[in-house]
Symmetry: C2
Subunit: 487 residues, 2 copies
């Protein structure tokens, strides 16, 4: 009883064979006795057209039933139809279905249906996130998202990587990267109540923290949502050689921007025996693989984005897919930025200097203006990068690399990891971190240490890049951000 997907019907040879169509009505047009019903099932961008000629119905047509059903059909209604698949006489589609029978499975009141409006803003659709997959734009976004996810797995599986799941709940904030969400089964209301009772009973305010007893929390200590699976991925890479994570990560940053999510999906590969150059090679291969996958498997959806969302999108993706990525050291990149700023070629909000973070404006200037193509900037000052990155012989820079692409800026961040026990321990201490918190991580350097590298790609950033969608909240089904956790 499972229907054939419209995607497959549209690519079938039309030989008048009887087919069953299930989906949702996009539009009904009734013109001089000729009825056209556009039906979509989300399997592809295109609709399939059902036709019913009142003046000349098909011999097999159940005319009365069709007429009765037609009265119930509005945009959004669901149907199950039967008819003959024929070559379409009209332009715009290869095949269509001559209606023999149709059933309305679920009506859709035009007065009440939230997606009836003609022009719906992205904000409005976000408030109706449970229905927005039914629109052209979001159907396309989610299909591209699906293709990109499978492309990620395919890329790594073809190269002998093992998919692994890093933990979501963790008691270690090892990366020290930003604010975390706390996870608890302690009752906040109960804590407040204990506080009030203790206050009445004479507890001093400075003793209040004693009321919070993490030994009674689910995990027996304070637990949070992970900000990165990298350190755990390293434990697996130093056993299985090549691994990758692809899972949700969390940041409790109070950033209400079109570029930040509180919950997002990250891809974090980690490779034993890869140095920084190997790391850059695979990053370049990876980006090109993903873009080529999108360009070949999502043609219809990309054509829509190119036309309606970001003109020039396909050309710009093709350009990166075919480019040789420029590789430039941080020091050289800064020199260019300083020189061009000094010569008045460009005005930056933040003045670039050796030692500064490369801001998005700098990244985009490098990739869009200076090199007009993808750029990999490597060997950053150790002060602005994480403790686990491998120190260069100059003692000043670390083997980090960021991949910058036009229109987005940073797409990937990665590094060769510090595999020397003494150097890593020194880095941990000098940053004021507590070595015993990193005992298990240091073990990887104590026992059979190997050179290794890895990188991280924010999946939603990738989808934003590939679709041209402006707001990151519109490339994930149910976005989470400050004050936003609906559904």
């Amino acid at each position: 009883m499972v229907p054939v997907l419209i995607k497959d019907l549209l690519s079938s040879k039309p030989e008048g064979q009887q087919v069953k169509v299930c989906g949702w009505v996009r539009s009904v047009r009734d013109s001089k006795g000729l009825v056209f019903i556009q039906v979509n099932d989300g399997s592809c961008f295109s609709n399939i057209q059902l036709t019913f000629d009142r003046n000349n119905p098909s011999n097999n047509a159940n005319v009365n039933n069709i007429e009765e059903t037609l009265k119930k059909l509005n945009t959004g209604a669901s149907v199950r139809a039967i008819g003959a698949l024929i070559e379409s006489p009209a332009s715009g589609q290869a095949v269509e279905v001559t209606l023999e029978n149709i059933e309305c499975l679920g009506t859709c009141s035009p007065e009440e249906y939230p997606l009836q409006k003609n022009k719906m803003s992205m904000e409005y659709l976000r408030e109706n996130a449970h229905l927005r997959a039914r629109t052209n734009t979001f159907g396309a976004v989610y299909r591209v998202r699906n293709q990109m996810a499978f492309a990620v797995h395919s890329f790594f599986q073809e190269r002998g990587f093992q998919y692994m799941n890093a933990p979501e709940i963790t008691c270690s904030d090892c990366e020290g990267a930003g604010e975390m969400f706390q996870v608890t089964t302690l009752s906040l209301e109960k804590i407040a109540e204990m506080g009030v009772k203790a206050g009445i009973g004479g507890m001093k305010v400075e003793d209040a923290h004693k009321i919070v007893d993490y030994s009674k929390d689910f995990f027996g200590k304070k637990a949070s949502l992970t900000v990165s699976g990298q350190l755990e991925a390293e434990t697996m890479a130093t056993a299985l050689s090549r691994v990758y994570t692809f899972g949700p990560t969390f940041r409790a940053e109070n950033s209400n921007t079109p570029r930040h999510l509180a919950e997002f999906w990250m891809i974090e590969p980690e490779m034993a025996f890869y140095d920084l150059d190997d790391n850059m090679d695979i990053q370049e291969d990876f980006v090109k693989y993903l873009l080529n996958w999108a360009l070949t498997k999502c043609q219809e959806d990309l054509a829509f984005f190119d036309k309606r969302i970001q003109p020039g999108l396909i050309e710009s993706l093709k350009a990166v897919a075919n480019a040789k990525f420029t590789r430039i050291s941080y020091t050289d990149a800064i020199a260019i930025l300083e020189k061009d700023a000094a010569e008045g070629k460009v005005k930056f909000e933040y003045k670039p200097f050796w030692g500064c973070d490369i801001a998005t404006e700098h990244e985009r200037y490098l990739t869009e203006k200076v090199f007009n193509g993808p750029v990999m900037v490597y060997n950053y000052p150790k002060e602005i990068k994480a403790f686990y990155m491998k120190l260069n012989e100059d003692g000043k820079t670390v083997k980090a690399v960021d991949v910058l692409v036009p229109g987005i800026g940073e797409l990937i961040g990665g590094s060769e990891r510090e595999e020397n026990y003494e150097v890593l321990l020194e880095r941990i201490k000098s940053l004021g971190l507590e070595p015993k918190d990193y005992d298990w991580y240091l073990d990887l350097r104590r026992f059979g240490t190997v050179p290794h590298s890895g990188f991280g790609l924010g999946f939603e950033r990738l989808i934003r890049y590939v679709t041209g969608m402006e707001n990151i909240r519109d490339v994930i089904p149910f976005p989470r951000a400050p004050k936003l956790a609906d559904f």
Copy 2:
């Protein structure tokens, strides 16, 4: 500079070509001037053997360097070696490498290395979860896990399903399924302090809850970790037709058993236009596909599990992969259980009766003794199943189905969903749930509703089944359970 994986070396044609081997030493044997080094890189179960003949070294051998390096090699040390790939004269391996040079990348002190012991318990290895991927058992578990994850994606991609990500953080406890973890950026210590201050200031205990102000929490209201992505998956299936989630889900149940995790990965497909029979068909196809994938792509690892972990494993997986799944209604299943119990054929801890939950002991009796093969039990009493399951015409049962397999019991749970707005609303009300909490979910029935079905498979339960591993904590890299959130 990226080395060829040992998996690929072992299947290369040995023609004396020079190869580079990178990995970790499993053992070094030195016998009458003949040295054998077993090296593993985790890409497959087998090691590659490096040989060095002191009495007759290869012409290209850097003898002095090899001898120096050999002094540093213990189990767990990491090496980079160069040599000629030749046909192995010994049995047990097809190829080996005649050593020309070898470098120790990282030593591994036998006194300190936690994996030195001969017999290590599963508990001991769990405490060393950051290193256990280096053992035979866990290397095999993680490779099988990787293969099964890719099999899941491949199965659904081949069938036109769209992979989607349901949210991890949610403000709706829609399934009402068990205890949830709270996610917050409010400071528990601060709440305690405010409580103490308020108590000192004269607040009454019954007003203490007012101190907890969720409008100041990150999401502006109380938020939790999801227990299921099903309801969100339904929003996507009623737009894209066929979708599936594969992501982490959470239960804050205080169950310290070998069958429960607080954090586990779930696969939740959801299909528009599928009824209960279609749902059962695809579940059967899915299980067989996964088992066949394991049996063909994980032969070496499964052979290990069959030999060391669960004798008979491969035969039992093959039997299910080739079986026709028995389909039996709950009512008929209970009748069998009651009859066999009454006749003394079996003794149950919990007496079966119509209306009872089918316990694991009942499930296993049905699948292992009565049918000696996989069983699908369908049409359960509505009282013991969730509100969203489609009510049968009898008014008493719902279109739920559980898949039972020998050795495990329930592997999959699913149902056809209630797509009738009125019936669903009635169910919500009669269970004392608040209709307005389900407004968005009801919308799917208000606007173009369609028959649809879905199911859930716990990924770790699958891995336990396929590997024969006894404890679910040993089939995920970093298990989370009560008092357990290390690393």
